[in-house]
Amino acid sequence: MNTNEAVPLGREARRELSFSFTGSATEYFGIWIVNLLLSLITLGIYTAWAKVRRQRYFYGNTWLDGHNFEYHARPVKILIGRIIVLGLLVLYNLLVLISPFFSFLLIFYILAFPWILNKSMAFNARMTSYRNVRLNFRGSYWGAFFSFIVMPIVALVSLGILAPLASRYAYNYIGRHLGYGTARFETQAPLKALYGNLGATIIFVILAAVVCGAIGLALSAGIGSFSYGDMGDEEFARLLASGPLVAGLLGAYVALALSYVFYAAGVRNIAYNSTTLDGKHRMTSNVGRLRYVWILVSNLIVTILTVGLMRPWAAVRSWRYLAASTGLLAAGPLDDFVDEAAPEGNVGAAEFFDIEGIDFGL
């Protein structure tokens, strides 16, 4: 398990290490259902403890080179963060309800977004350790502003043509500011590969649109004939006329969501494969894009069909797949990393992202 330091050759040997997840769906089901039950009984207060327990289960059962990851956040801090975030969200929505004029507060949110992002990344990094050394994140306001506000707008305005550029900036920004103890990560995602990924995504979009459209059409025809008995002929005719439109829109929405997953998985591969740690170790990622789309889609279907009861199975399944698809090309033993003091981040910012479902983890 541990490279013997007495053998000098070991220092130079390049090793291909893979992440692995050793948890199981049954095990996680127990944790999940108990978390849910206690959260319900305590009217949500326990969610903070539940989150820590869930994270500790997933991190703690994820292994690399015979060592596991650890999640360190304290539930009380998470709870305080959640209360602050919920309070602010309720206040904002109340103000907008009183007068839509208060929507102008969104400008402040956009201006604060880079700061929230940095603080959230810093907190999450700081709460993660591997081999007794913690991750850290040192962001810069304008760097985040450019990568996460300016570039997404540019990508949108260019109708997606510049999306690879935006992806490159986003991943490079995160990689460049992430550290493991005193060692730094560095990401330089190649633009050419990112454009290749966009090309593949476009082909996927076309195929997905055809398939989703056809399924939507078949479904709408099915629903139309099903409810025929309740309606007048006129109503039925109107439904038939609007059916393809509804089906088309629904199909387009699903196709778009799937394409995003496809695209993001491709970007992850490219970004990880061009990320180094301490200038010598290299990350690897080989997520199968179609495979990953399939995993998420089938997860969703199974989760819905079992009214949520298979959710733990689905969560374990996708996490295990991502872990198994991720690796590290180690240039030597991983025993010479040193921890250092680093910005602690802000739990409120992290909980805001968590509650709003914003996630840069993939």
């Binding site: 039950l37 539940a50 081999r131 050394v133 103890g181 509650i355």
Partner: protein, 341 residues
């Protein structure tokens, strides 16, 4: 005595080691090390299935117990909350029980808990906030949807008198009632709207479409019912409550699952809103009977509004209002009840 491995402070270097002694006086012997160390214990990570327990020392060093080591036995923490919880989570019988209790609780919370909390919260919402919501909403709808009324002054006067009669009978409990007349125009047409703070808007088109004053009075009484029973506030709180429950269940869900569940619960809130409509109808029947007016006739007016809209006749899953047939039946049933009792 626990076997495991040791990380020196702030270092990723590792050696196998053995921890012995007592939690107060620990002895840590590194394999191949000379003297045992006497670290001061700061914390031990809580047990979670499959995850090695980690002892963190005051100097930042960490001892990681080997998988399966009896850490609770060493620390004497068998009965701590998380040790019990971990055993509970791993017991198939217990988690099956927990699953059943959770499903039951979710159902009860959804059917009774959230509506109960919502109506409690609606009552407790401070009056100034409710008034502010009215003020803000009115400002917006006046700017975007409505035009000033074009009814003759005399007709307006008569409608206000009618409204005063009803609001007097409705009593003073709750927000002060106020009638506003507006022209609905193309987008709104014949309609009546109740804001939570007691502002009730009736459109010119509705007044024109009515055959008798009793029809208008019935609609006004229906809207007064919404205000008195605080339906719009309850609706807001119920939506919040459902959102909260969705977040609880799907706390670890990916965005995709979240989206689907949120859409489904949005549809479900429409069912809630139908429930409020029925309740307001019954309130109207009650109030109209008390002032000695015809309690059924407003259904005729609603019928006429819905005439050009065939879908309004039936209740669908997606409707905000109950179908007209269902409404008429419920109203007539209530009248029979009032007559009988």
């Amino acid at each position: 005595m626990i076997e495991g491995r040791y990380f020196p402070p702030a270092s990723s270097a590792v050696t196998s080691a053995v921890l012995s002694g007592t939690p107060e006086a620990l002895r840590l012997q590194e394999t191949g090390g000379q003297e045992p160390m006497m670290p001061v214990l700061q914390s031990v990570s809580d047990p979670v299935a499959g995850v090695p327990r980690k002892f963190t020392f005051a100097d930042g060093g960490v001892f990681e117990a080997a998988p399966g080591a009896d850490v609770d036995g060493f620390l004497g923490t068998h009965k701590s909350f998380f040790s019990r919880l971990t055993r509970f989570e791993a017991n198939l019988k217990y988690i099956a029980l927990a699953a059943m209790v959770t499903i039951g609780l979710l159902f009860v919370a959804y059917r009774h808990g959230i509506p109960l909390l919502a109506s409690g919260a609606a009552v407790m919402t401070p009056a100034p906030i409710v008034a502010a919501i009215d003020f803000g909403t009115l400002e917006t709808v006046d700017r975007t949807l409505f035009e000033p009324t074009e009814l003759p002054e005399k007709r307006q006067e008569a409608l206000r008198a009618l409204f005063a009669e009803l609001s007097f009978a409705a009593g003073k409990k709750g927000p002060p009632l106020q009638l506003l007349l507006r022209k609905g125009g193309k987008t709104i047409g014949a309609n009546a709207i109740a804001l939570p703070g007691g502002t009730i808007i009736v459109t010119d088109e509705l007044v024109t479409l009515a055959a008798t004053d009793d029809e208008i009075a019935g609609v006004m009484a229906h809207e007064i019912g919404h205000v008195r029973e605080r339906h719009s506030l309850q609706q807001i709180y119920r939506v919040l409550g459902i959102g909260f429950m969705v977040a609880l269940v799907g706390g670890d869900a990916s965005q995709l699952v979240d989206d689907v569940v949120t859409q489904a619960s949005a549809v479900q809130t429409l069912v809630y809103s139908r429930e409020f409509e029925t309740s307001a109808d019954l309130y109207s029947v009650d109030l109209m009977s008390r002032v000695g007016r015809d309690p059924v006739s407003f259904v005729d007016l609603l019928d006429r509004i819905g005439k050009d809209d065939e879908a309004a006749q039936e209740t669908y899953w997606f409707s905000t209002h109950p179908g007209m047939k269902e409404r008429r039946a419920a109203v007539e049933k209530k009248i029979r009840e009032l007559a009988g009792g």
